[in-house]
Amino acid sequence: MPDLPIALIGCGAIAEMFYLPALEKRPDLLSSLILVDRNAEKAEAVRKRLGAAASASDHREVLSRVKGAIIATPHHLHTPLTLEFLEHGVHVLCEKPLSRTAAEVDQVVAAAAANRVHVLVNQTRRLYTSFQEVKRRIANGSIGELREIDYVLGEPFGWPAETNTYFGVAAGGRGVLFDNGAHIVDLVCWFLGGEPEIVSYEDDSRGGTEAVAEIKLRLGDANARIRLSWLSKLRNTYRITGTRGSMDGRVYESSSFTFRDPSGKSRRIKTDGAREGSYFAGKLLANFVGVVEGREQPIVAAGDVRPAISVIDACYQRRSTMIEPWYDVAGTPASV
């Protein structure tokens, strides 16, 4: 039974929806778990609910008391908090996106190496057995040479955010690409096998955070298109096309996809694995415990997400505005 002092930093929406249900299933961790939130009352309420060891309102109170820290704060705090814990010799499980820039990722990687600790990043999509099988089939040539990836993800924003850190100026002008894109661009880079060049990028930001974004990427002979939206439900499917076949599926389907061979014959491929978010949180947590105990390597380490972070940052540097005729006809509202 592990007696690992671990801290959960941030008791907001991602903690409630993802980490706490998984932690509740690990009584062996609860006995030494410390809940941290700037809102001391909330941290203490969660501690009581879980029967955890302690609560605190400032992460600095636990820096030297824990061996592992789970960073579940608003995005802009991910890198600075990760660095602070690493510098105190604490292993980190960080929510996505790990960082804003590739340089920040490099800092994190260097800090982890210097302090002989590890960083695990929550890239849940990489845990889907469907995507793991897709990746395997791309690598072993099941669809021939990879030529095209098309990935569309859109849902009206429904995350029960408790703070104003997702939108507008407070979010530093980084919206759906930074948030959902941290998963999807990472997945596409993983499939492509490296960091692609950006063919084009446009979004609908008008000085705030973009809610719709479209990226076109290229690596060698393979092209990729990603469309993301916070404003409407899109078709939410992906297709990966090679010279001798294709694979496609629904973006939320974590244990199956359709495989088409060169003759055009298609069949459903089923993979092992659950569909529930708590399953992935449990898997991630188990890996993190293994990492902290020195038994395992991170499933997704900081350096693994560098290509996606680099692409996302570069997209923002060259963003162009989507044309929206309903929004501005010749620069003015239609009737005003």
Binding site: V152, W159, G207, E324, W326, A334, V336
Partner: protein, 356 residues
């Protein structure tokens, strides 16, 4: 001291409030504060560099913070009666206390009940037992109470507001057009469709914010034309580039409508009484989620019996008063508005297109 107005738009996470924030921002003259009931509602207005505040208009503390420094208020908030009625009263009271120079309250022509003929503001407000219209009448009474105390509040009564982001008068019709058969025959859709493009409503709001009207005065806001429902359907269909609508027979359409009615009623009952449990089941089971989505789609795409009555009603809401006093000039007939709406529908994946 700056003459710049600070305009708080309450309900900025919604269809109308979101557009008013966009228009105010584009015009550039005012400091715009977008009031969101929940942060999650900020995706659309967050695209702009406007100030975002969280404000539940039932909460005095939220209201004090949101109204700090505000000169003008647009109230687009709507919800259950605690929001529409009590929230409006609290908002207006707080706006009065903070010295707001003008409040524009978005009401609805549903306050007239289900009238026939030419309807101007002299028509009596009529309780019908329908929660939306009845609560809007109560909210207007709150406006009158505060107007009597000296708050400069203007009431706008828009008709059927359509356009981008309209989840009532735009998206469901486009979805029905995509999913044939078309179930609203021409013969039963000859009533008056009082269509108001959202930009025309925005222009009425702008006019009301600046006009020195009598506190508590109310104005109908309608579009520039009075098409039949059938004309709306066919022109939206054309704007979307879809094959011509082929009518079901009136009797066939009614049979189908009646057949779906039990499902509609059951779904409404279950959502009203067991929504959290249903959501949990949906989260746990893909099969359950897909079944619920299919049921929802069927209900949404099948006209209800009440809709058939709406499509045949002959009622036209006059905007003479708004034109005379506010200087309101609707400028978006269907020929202007629907191509813009169609472009939006394509862009957001409601209709397959380059950006699907």
């Amino acid at each position: 001291m700056s003459d710049q107005r600070t305009v708080l738009v309450v309900g900025a996470g919604g269809f109308i409030g979101g557009r008013i924030v966009e228009v105010l921002h584009q015009l550039g003259a005012d400091h715009v504060r977008a009031g969101l009931r929940r942060w999650a509602g900020g995706a659309r207005v967050g695209r702009l560099p406007v100030e975002l505040v969280q404000v539940d208009i039932r909460d005095d503390g939220d209201l004090r913070r949101a109204l700090d420094g505000v000169t003008h208020v647009v109230n687009c908030a709507v919800g259950d009666p605690s929001t529409t009625v009590d929230g409006t009263r609290k908002l207006l009271t707080a706006a009065h206390a903070s010295g707001a120079q003008r409040v524009v309250h978005i009401s609805t022509v549903d306050v007239y009940g289900q009238p026939e003929g030419e309807v101007d503001e002299s028509r009596p407000l009529t309780i019908t037992g329908r929660p939306y219209g009845d609560s809007k009448i109560e909210a207007e009474r709150a406006c009158q109470e505060l107007a009597a105390k000296g708050l400069p509040v203007t009431i706008l009564r828009p008709t059927l507001v359509h356009g981008p982001f309209s989840a009532t008068w735009t998206v469901p019709y486009a979805q029905r057009m995509l999913k044939r058969p078309w179930l609203i025959p021409e013969a039963v859709s000859q009533g008056t469709c009082n269509l108001l493009y959202v930009d025309d409503l925005a222009s009425a709001v702008l006019a009301a914010l600046s006009a020195d009207t009598t506190p508590g005065d109310a104005f109908n806001v309608n579009g520039p034309e009075r098409p039949t429902w059938h004309a709306y359907f066919t022109q939206l269909n054309d704007a979307l580039g879809l094959p011509p609508l082929v009518d079901a027979t009136p009797s066939g359409a009614r049979v189908r409508s009646a057949a779906v009615q039990p499902l509609r009623k059951s779904a409404k009952f279950l959502i009203n009484h067991f929504e959290p449990q249903i959501m949990r089941v949906g989260q746990r089971s893909l099969l359950a989620r897909n079944t619920m989505l299919r049921a929802e789609r069927l209900v949404r795409t099948t006209p209800s019996p009440a809709e058939f009555a709406l499509y045949q009603r002959q009622a036209s809401f006059s905007t003479s008063k708004a034109q005379d006093i506010l200087g309101y000039r609707p400028a978006c007939p269907m020929a202007t508005a629907l191509p813009l709406t169609a472009a939006w529908l394509r862009h957001h994946g409601y209709v397959t297109g380059p950006g699907d």
